[in-house]
C-alpha cells in the first residue's frame, strides 16, 4: 500500500503551532474537579455509567485462554445478585486471545478490543504492525488499541508517526481505532497535546493515555490536556473523538472525578461508552462494591464479589 495515497486525505498539522499547555493551570483545574459535591442519587447513576464505560482488561504475558474466558465470564456476569446493572463496554486482550474472547462473549453486545502494533513498546517494523492489526480484526476485534512509536515521536519524526497511524487506521477497516500515546513516556504535557493533535488528525477514533505498562499511567492532568485537545479539534473540524484513560484508575471515587472532568470539559455528548472509556481491571469490582454500598448502606468486602 502506498502511504502517500492515504495521507492525502489526512494532513499532518503544523506541530510548531500546537498550543502550549499551562501546567500550573492544569493542576489547579484538576484540583477543582475533585471538590465537586456529588449527591447520592447522582453517585449511583455515575457508578452505573462508569461500569458501562469500562474496558475490562487483561494484558499479561501469562494470559492463557482460560484466563481470558474467565475475564469474559466476569464481563458477562458482573454481579448477578444485583439485577439491572449495565454490562461493561468491552473486553481488552492481546490479538492472539481475540478468538477466545469472541467465542466466550458471543453476541452479548460486549465489544472486543485488541491491542495491536507490537504492544506495548511499538518497536517493530510497520509491516509487522499492519499484520498484527489485520490479524486482530480478522479474528473478530471491533476495536483496535494501537501504540504510537514514541521513539520516533520524541526524535521529531512526526510525519513517520502520522503516516503509521493513517496506515493502521486503514488496516482497521470497520474496527474503531484507539491510539495510545503512552503519556508516561512523553515527558511533558506539551508533548501530550502535540501527540493528541497528531493522532486525531491522522484519523484516530479514540485517543488513549497509556498501555498500563509504564508508570505513571493515566493521570487527571494528562487526561485533561487530551480532553482539551479533543474539544479544540471538534471545534475546528466538527468530528468527535473519544477518550480513554487507562491504567491506575482503581477506585470509584477517582473514576467519578474523571466523569466530572469529562462533563465540564467536553459536555454531555461525550458522556456515553461510545465516546469515553476506562481501561481498567480492578475498577469494576470497586464500582460494584460502591453500588452495593449505596443500596444497602453497608460497606462491602471483596470476599463477596467475583475476582476478575
Amino acid at each position: 500500500m502506498s502511504l502517500s495515497a492515504v495521507t492525502s486525505t489526512h494532513k499532518l498539522p503544523d506541530m510548531s503551532r500546537v498550543p502550549t499547555v499551562d501546567e500550573v493551570g492544569v493542576n489547579e483545574r484538576v484540583a477543582r474537579f475533585q471538590t465537586r459535591s456529588i449527591k447520592s442519587a447522582s453517585k449511583v447513576e455515575a457508578l452505573k455509567l462508569i461500569l458501562s464505560m469500562i474496558d475490562l482488561t487483561t494484558l499479561e504475558g501469562q494470559d492463557t485462554p482460560g484466563k481470558v474466558r474467565q475475564l469474559c465470564q466476569k464481563a458477562l456476569h458482573l454481579h448477578d445478585a444485583m439485577p439491572g446493572l449495565p454490562h461493561v463496554a468491552a473486553v481488552c486482550v492481546y490479538p492472539t486471545m481475540v478468538k477466545v474472547a469472541k467465542k466466550a462473549l458471543g453476541n452479548s453486545g460486549i465489544n472486543i478490543a485488541s491491542v495491536a502494533t507490537a504492544f506495548p513498546s511499538g518497536q517493530a517494523p510497520l509491516s509487522v504492525k499492519l499484520d498484527d492489526t489485520r490479524m486482530a480484526v480478522a479474528e473478530g476485534a471491533n476495536e483496535i488499541d494501537m501504540v504510537i512509536s514514541r521513539g520516533e515521536f520524541l526524535a521529531g519524526n512526526y510525519g513517520m508517526v502520522f503516516d503509521e497511524i493513517v496506515a493502521i487506521k486503514d488496516a482497521c477497516g470497520d474496527a474503531h481505532l484507539k491510539v495510545i500515546l503512552e503519556t508516561g513516556e512523553l515527558g511533558t504535557l506539551d508533548r501530550v497535546r502535540q501527540a493528541s493533535e497528531l493522532a486525531m488528525h491522522a484519523g484516530a477514533d479514540f485517543i488513549k493515555t497509556s498501555t498500563g505498562k509504564i508508570q505513571p499511567a493515566a493521570t487527571m492532568q494528562v487526561t485533561l490536556v487530551m480532553l482539551q485537545a479533543i474539544r479544540d479539534y471538534y471545534a475546528a473540524t466538527g468530528r468527535m473523538v473519544g477518550m480513554k484513560p487507562a491504567g491506575g484508575i482503581a477506585h470509584s471515587k477517582l473514576a467519578i472525578h474523571y466523569l466530572v472532568m469529562l462533563r465540564e470539559t467536553l459536555g454531555k455528548a461525550w458522556m456515553t461508552p461510545q465516546w469515553f472509556r476506562f481501561g481498567a481491571s480492578s475498577l469494576a469490582n470497586d464500582v460494584l462494591m460502591q453500588i452495593r454500598k449505596q443500596a444497602t448502606g453497608v460497606y462491602q468486602s471483596a470476599d463477596y464479589f467475583s475476582k476478575d
Partner: protein, 294 residues
C-alpha cells in the same frame, strides 16, 4: 499539654495535636470534626478527632491490605515486634503516666497501669510462638487419615475498646489479636483517648507494619453500628456492652457472620484477665484430613 513548671514559666506551652492512626500515618479525621476533652475541673486538655464512618472505612482498607503480609510473618517475628512495642513503651512511661493523670487517674494508679500495660505486651509477645502448639491438635479418626487441626487468623478485627481503661484495656484487646496474625481497627475510649493516640506513636516507632493496628477516636454511639455492619470485618470485639448494644451489634454482625466477642465486666488490671484464650478468640480452626496408608 503539661503546664509549664516554675523554671520555664515564661515559655509558651506547646500543646500536642491528637490525631488518629490509619495505615501507619497520622491523619486528622476526614470529617474535620472534633470533641473537646476536659479534665475534672473543666479545663480543656485537648481537642480529639471525632472520626467518621469514612475514617473507619479508610482504616478498614489499610487493615485489610496489611493482613495477608502480617499473617505470613513468622510467629517469632510477630513476637519480636510486640516485644519491641513493650520496649518502646518502657522508654516513654512518663508520658503515658502523665496522660493518665491528666485524664483523672491517681498518681500511683497511673504508674501501675503503665507498668501493667508493658508487662501485658511482654506476656502476649511470649505467646506468639506458643499458642499454636497449645491449641492445635492431632485428632483420632476412624479412617486411614492423619487428621490435624491448626489455628489461622480470622482476618481483620474491629475493636470497641473498654471505656474505663484507656491504656491497659485497649492494649489487652489489641495485643492478643495482632499476635495471632490478625490486623485490627480499634476505637479508643471516648473519655480517655490520650494514651491510645500516644500508643499509636509507639507502634509507629516499633516496626509494626503500617495498617496492622489502626486507632480511631470518636463517639462510640456513632461508630459502633459501622463497626458491626462492615462486611469486611471478620470479628468484632466489643467491651462494656449493655443489652441494647448487644442486640444491635449481633444483628448487624449477622450479615456476614462475624465472630462477635463481648467482653463486659472484665477487670483489665487484674492478672486473671490475661490468658491465651484471648488469642484463640480471633482464630479459626482449620482441620485437615491427610490420607495415609492403612
Amino acid at each position: 499539654m503539661a503546664t509549664a513548671s516554675g523554671k520555664t514559666a515564661k515559655r509558651l506551652a506547646v500543646a500536642k495535636t491528637y490525631k488518629i492512626f490509619i495505615g501507619g500515618q497520622f491523619p486528622r479525621t476526614e470529617s474535620a470534626r472534633y470533641y473537646t476533652l476536659k479534665d475534672r475541673q473543666g479545663a480543656v486538655i485537648a481537642n480529639i478527632c471525632r472520626s467518621s464512618r469514612k475514617d473507619f472505612r479508610n482504616a478498614m482498607v489499610a487493615a485489610r491490605g496489611a493482613q495477608d503480609g502480617w499473617a505470613k510473618a513468622s510467629a517469632y517475628l510477630r513476637g519480636q515486634i510486640l516485644y519491641r512495642v513493650a520496649e518502646m513503651l518502657e522508654g516513654r512511661r512518663e508520658q503515658f503516666s502523665a496522660e493518665l493523670k491528666l485524664q483523672g487517674a491517681a498518681m500511683r494508679a497511673a504508674d501501675k497501669e503503665v507498668d501493667a500495660t508493658i508487662d501485658r505486651l511482654v506476656y502476649f509477645a511470649g505467646w506468639a510462638d506458643k499458642y499454636q502448639q497449645v491449641f492445635s491438635s492431632v485428632n483420632p479418626v476412624a479412617s486411614s487419615h492423619f487428621n490435624f487441626s491448626v489455628l489461622e487468623p480470622t482476618g481483620v478485627v474491629a475493636i470497641l475498646a473498654p471505656e474505663a481503661s484507656g491504656l491497659l484495656g485497649l492494649i489487652s484487646n489489641i495485643a492478643p489479636v495482632i499476635v495471632g496474625g490478625n490486623t485490627c481497627v480499634a476505637l479508643a475510649s471516648e473519655s480517655m483517648p490520650l494514651c491510645a493516640v500516644s500508643f499509636a506513636e509507639v507502634l509507629h516507632a516499633a516496626d509494626v507494619p503500617p495498617g496492622v493496628v489502626n486507632i480511631l477516636t470518636g463517639y462510640r454511639s456513632e461508630l459502633s453500628g459501622q463497626f458491626a455492619s462492615h462486611m469486611d470485618v471478620n470479628a468484632i470485639i466489643y467491651c462494656d456492652g449493655d443489652q441494647q448494644t448487644d442486640k444491635a451489634v449481633q444483628v448487624a454482625a449477622a450479615d456476614n457472620i462475624k465472630r462477635v466477642l463481648r467482653r463486659t465486666d472484665v477487670s483489665w488490671a487484674d492478672e486473671s484477665s490475661q490468658h491465651p484464650y484471648l488469642v484463640r478468640d480471633t482464630q479459626e480452626v482449620k482441620t485437615t484430613w491427610h490420607p495415609i496408608g492403612k
